[in-house]
Symmetry: C2
């Protein structure tokens, strides 16, 4: 084990994101410390980090809880995600390398095949790497930090399980169009496609019932 505090951060963060610790769950320091076999000191540092990143709320003398998101929070988060992801796409368009473009094209094909065969795990993996490349190509550490804060919640829910086949095909089409926009080194195009992409994702997540909002 490298650093205990780092380990604690990773473990708790992962547990929150994959739903092992549901929203509202109490995170006792001793409890976590014993579970990880370390002392409370590094646990506290990990919880402070998670607090700043918005994953946990901690009240003085009362301990930490997993943040629970209201409906308004979710809307707010998606608005920010739309803003930041499309901005990242625009920046990436004028900075992305040919190597990264090649990899993105591979991922796009992989994902199309995964959609065809219904392999949800693989879809998620391809999607994650695809978007990861774009964010890195935006080459702004601060932007990446902000995006992480805003992507975390969707991660919890974005299992692709509620995507219909049509939704998935549209998603693949967006990826394809993004690759073209990047090849053309066209920031405005990339930004616009990315906006559509995230808006579509929000609509899927919001559920069909709210289509008319």
């Amino acid at each position: 084990m490298a650093l205990a505090a780092e380990k604690a951060y990773e473990v708790v963060r992962t547990a929150i994101l994959d739903g092992s610790y549901p929203p509202g769950e109490r995170l006792g320091e001793v409890e976590l410390a014993e579970a990880l076999g370390i002392s409370r000191t590094p646990i506290r540092e990990a919880l402070r980090r998670l607090e700043v990143e918005g994953l946990v709320e901690v009240l003085p003398h009362r301990g930490a809880r997993v943040t629970s998101w209201s409906h308004e929070d979710l809307d707010e988060i998606y608005e920010l995600r739309i803003l930041l992801e499309s901005f990242a796409a625009a920046r990436a368009a004028s900075r992305i390398s040919d190597g990264e473009l090649g990899r993105m094209d591979e991922l796009r094909q992989d994902m199309a095949r995964a959609v065809h065969s219904g392999d949800v795990e693989r879809i998620a993996a391809c999607n994650a790497e695809f978007h990861g490349i774009i964010r890195r190509a935006a080459s702004s550490t601060r932007l990446v930090t902000m995006l992480n804060a805003v992507i975390q919640l969707p991660l919890v829910l974005q299992t692709f399980h509620r995507y219909t086949h049509e939704d998935l095909q549209r998603s693949v089409a967006h990826h394809s169009e993004l690759v073209h926009a990047f090849r053309a080194r066209d920031p405005a195009w990339a930004e616009s496609v990315m906006r559509s992409h995230v808006l579509a994702a929000r609509r899927v997540l919001a559920g069909r019932s709210r289509d008319e909002e």
Copy 2:
């Protein structure tokens, strides 16, 4: 003193922002602990918070240093600031209360007088409260967190000392136009004016020498 960790955070943050700890300065834990009369434990928690917020960099087993910003960092930060502040203005336009609007108008007048009399301290104070109201009216905790991360650096430099009289008058004019846009509850107008406002600020900070870039 309420909580030692909170106190340490406030003290160190303020010292960084007002320049007492210049970029690159080493922040030893024992040194800070003795200076504040507390132990290293709360100091460490404060440093972790500052790390996530981007104000300090900490390397494993090597301690913390005040972040030093490259020229590219500064550009990157201003791009994000433009994005986020104008977004906040748009949100605020449809949410701001009449009371807040009234206070903003007072501040606008105050600031105009301060510009006339050359009171730089007062200009800065009015400006800070004016923009604070807008950010609060945007009513997005996450957005506020992000803006703080992006406004911190400008805070270090934005002393208004390098503003010419013309720059200051333009700034006041922007504030005046913002009040009108908010009164009209016009998000697009508010967003656009805010974008101009921040772009102008960047140009002042960048220095006249780079006008042709």
